[in-house]
């Protein structure tokens, strides 16, 4: 146990400022959002202090349902693509001898300011952009192709933005993985694919959960990317909130949509945490009943007959 710093309990004194700050500037604003979502909208922004479910009724409106579904579908597609790219990358990095260098390579592009990276994609995909210029120069295209302002370009840029959020946790879990287990699986007759899906994947589940969470949540609340890369038909919930706040000035509705995002995010986090807990419990139980056998245990078992050798260990 940690020893107390002193006999007197100064804990509240040390932690007072942080508790106060978060209560005032984080908890209170969130509570206000919850309250606002149940009120009548004011004429020029703000609210009238009168209970109303109008905001939530407006959420059932076909436009919002469409945008909510679109946001969900976009987030799921982008997350799945990100993970599919990040898995082999993390695997390769974990097996590499130059881990520090590869880590740097993954991280450096993300030192560049978020908006500048969005801007770079506009410069590439725009009608007068790099890609169209290139296609025109090679004579493949006469005029130009509109790459921007659609769902696909939004997904592409979202994947670009959040790729390292998936690569880094996957890398760090795969790095802890005992690769000799894969060899053992292959020796026992598993195909390469089987050894990946049945041995590697179950062993890196916690990293997978983290990667999914780190990509899905920010993408679900995306604002800047759909605003700058997408068109009107690729608007996501984040954009609707901003519009309701600044243009339409329906604050209760903006608050209600924020509630939707918050609830989806929180549910996501809880589901992931529950899965992770179950995973940990299963691993613990398996260890207790001796169900999992790591290669090290096999080796140890194989060493028993050799135990009369005082030097011990492997040959």
């Amino acid at each position: 146990m940690k020893p107390a710093l002193s006999k007197k309990n100064y804990g509240p004194l040390y932690a007072g400022p942080i508790a106060l700050w978060f209560t005032l500037f984080f908890a209170a604003p969130l509570i206000i959002i919850v309250l606002y979502s149940f009120m009548k909208k004011g004429l020029h922004g703000g609210v009238e202090w009168e209970f109303s479910l109008a905001a939530y009724e407006a959420l059932a409106n076909a436009t919002f349902v469409t945008i909510t579904i679109r946001t969900l579908v976009t987030s799921i597609i982008a997350t799945v693509l990100t993970i599919l790219i990040a898995l082999p990358c993390g695997y390769f990095m974990a097996k590499s001898k130059n881990q520090t260098l590869l880590l740097l390579l993954v991280i450096i592009p993300f030192w560049t300011n978020f908006l500048i990276r969005v801007y770079a994609w506009i410069a590439i995909l725009g009608n007068n952009g790099f890609l169209n210029d290139f296609l025109k120069a090679t004579g493949l295209v006469k005029n130009y192709i509109q790459f921007l302002y659609n769902q696909e370009s939004v997904i592409l840029v979202l994947v670009y933005m959040y790729l390292p959020y998936a690569i880094l946790p996957l890398f760090s879990t795969i790095d802890k993985f005992d690769f000799s287990l894969l060899e053992a699986a292959r020796d026992l007759g598993a195909t390469k694919l089987q050894s990946m899906t049945k041995v590697l994947l179950p062993n890196i589940r916690s990293g997978l959960f983290t990667a999914v969470l780190f990509t899905f949540i920010p993408i679900f609340g995306a604002y800047a990317v759909p605003l700058l890369i997408g068109g009107k038909d690729s608007y996501m919930l984040g954009n609707v909130i901003a519009d309701q706040l600044t243009k339409t000035r329906n604050w209760p509705l903006a608050a209600a949509i924020s509630m939707v995002i918050t609830v989806v995010t929180t549910v996501g986090v809880f589901v992931m945490m529950a899965l992770q807990k179950r995973e940990a419990r299963r691993a613990e139980e398996a260890a207790r009943f001796g169900n999992t056998t790591t290669l090290e245990e096999i080796n140890n078992a194989a060493e028993i007959p050799d135990s009369h050798n005082p030097a011990g260990g492997r040959p």
């Binding site: 990276r117 410069a123 609340g221």
Partner: protein, 282 residues
């Protein structure tokens, strides 16, 4: 974001041991192919930015080498530099506040048992999970409700709020590695609370505090979404400036700015990394 944090974390020494375990690998496996393709994907936008910052014409067709956009960036972009100053001011002040409050909080939560502890642990976790837009919107509505005028001050509050959890967690991580008998030794040798704090705990948790501060500075310089919601007239930060420039279309001055920023961050990050290594070694 997490990338920056992973990079700024004080390095640990067992990398060599891990490398020793690495087995022989076939050339050009599937994973290697994907990795190389991904690197091309990650770096392509940066190369395009760098290339076209030296383009003579405004458009994206190459018309010859020129430094005209750099000249414009440094000598006739007053608003841009004002925005830059705002960004730096907010980054330093909010990171400083977050570091002081976060470090104190981490010390309190690590060493004491008290009622608020669970609450603090839960509430510092949340801002890191919630999408940025929720924090931005809730703070905007809060400021409007309380009647605080939007401007540099509200941006400072917002940035401190999203910086705090990172500093708090990074200092806590450092305190967890602490050899706690040192505290007992300090007490046995007659140090009081204040002396133990100033002479033992703070110096020993310095790597965590410094990397927390640096993370906070980077996060603050980087933020667009939250700043967008809580900024007012005259409080443009660099990302907000870039945003309004993008809305007017592609501008090569932004390309030049990007290149300067990429260079700046690379140089800064490497010198900081060496600095952190130096602190950790001390």
């Amino acid at each position: 974001m997490s990338g920056i944090i992973a990079f700024l974390k004080p390095p640990n020494g067992n990398e060599a041991a891990r490398h020793a375990r690495r087995a022989y690998r076939k050339p050009f496996s599937f994973s290697q192919t994907v990795f190389i393709a991904t690197m091309v994907f990650l770096f392509l936008p940066l190369f395009v930015l760098i290339l076209y910052s030296f383009n003579a014409s405004k458009g994206m067709s190459w018309t010859g080498f020129s430094l005209v956009w750099y000249e414009k960036l440094f000598f006739s972009s007053k608003d841009l530099w004002k925005a830059f100053n705002n960004s730096v001011l907010i980054a330093l002040t909010s990171a400083f506040t977050a570091t002081v409050i976060g470090t104190l909080g981490a010390i309190g939560v690590t060493w004491y048992e008290f009622k608020l502890k669970k609450y603090i642990q839960a509430i510092t976790f949340l801002p890191m999970i919630l999408p940025e837009i929720i924090i931005g919107v809730s703070l905007l509505i809060f400021f409007a409700g309380v009647g605080i005028k939007l401007g540099l001050f509200t941006i400072y509050i917002a940035h401190t709020t999203f910086n705090l959890p990172f500093v708090f967690l990074m200092v806590m991580a450092r305190l967890d590695e602490f050899d706690h008998s040192i505290i007992e030794a300090a007490h046995d040798l007659g140090a009081n609370e204040r002396q133990t704090l100033l002479r033992v705990i703070l110096p020993m948790s310095m790597p965590g505090i410094v990397s927390g501060f640096l993370t906070a500075v980077t996060l603050s310089l980087e933020d667009f979404v939250i700043t967008f919601f809580v900024s007012g007239p005259g409080s443009t930060t660099l990302p907000l400036y870039v945003y309004s420039a993008i809305r007017f279309g592609v501008s090569p001055v932004i390309n030049a700015l990007s290149v300067v920023m990429i260079l700046g961050t690379v140089v800064l990050a490497f010198s900081l990394r060496n600095f952190l290594k130096y602190i950790a070694a001390k």
